[in-house]
Symmetry: C2
Subunit: 130 residues, 2 copies
């Protein structure tokens, strides 16, 4: 095996891609981002691996923005802002997620809370100037 170890797994490329961006990409966005490095990757592979990462807790889903699911490799609870103009998603690590309400929710409903998601929506600075 003298040739360069070009053949790592595509799976890792997908995870790295997610970890290197702050764009909270969709499956198709990941697919597009990987085109340079892996022109032969399949969209199905991206979907499959995103589903796997999610079930493994390696990434989290932000739910869907305009009909398409968006992902985040940062699994720590943090606040998001979603622009209804351009569909961009931005982190707000400065803001404290209201985790203290979690126990209240559990007490109110007798449920078991696994995650907390706080999202602001509106227009980003760019989209405000139309």
């Amino acid at each position: 095996m003298e040739a360069a170890a070009k053949q790592f797994k595509k799976r890792n490329a997908i995870l790295q891609c997610l970890r290197q961006t702050h764009a909270h990409p969709s499956a198709e966005m990941v697919y597009d981002l990987l085109q340079q490095e892996h022109p032969d990757i399949s969209l199905a592979t991206v979907y499959r691996n995103l589903a796997r990462f999610k079930s493994q807790g390696l990434i989290q889903s932000l739910g869907t923005v305009n009909g398409v699911e968006r992902f985040d490799a940062d699994t720590r609870p943090h606040v998001h802002f979603i622009c209804t103009g351009c569909d961009c998603v931005v982190d707000l690590p400065q803001l404290e997620p209201p985790l203290s309400l979690r126990k209240d929710a559990e007490d109110c409903l007798g449920c078991q809370v696994d995650a907390c998601q706080l999202t602001f929506t509106g227009l980003c600075s760019r989209c405000q100037g139309q």
Copy 2:
């Protein structure tokens, strides 16, 4: 026109349906709920009117749960709990949505925040007993 004014609009039936339930239904759930009263309603009409109500601010969308969009006729900001076991959605009117963070978000990003959504996910009391 002596016969009873049976022919109000289906549009209103859809809105009333949403207002009378706490199930945060999807389009198809609304369609099913209306079958008794309006067996001749079309699913497309439900979709069309939900979109209209949303754009008018008469209802809000909770985003999608397991791939299907869910709606709420209560447009006041309030906290939700979503069960990942049975996909039920429950209000938590007792909990205070962190609206105070809204201004912080705007300051951080220079954005304009229009809405705030806080959602807890986990297992409801029924689903905890498997």
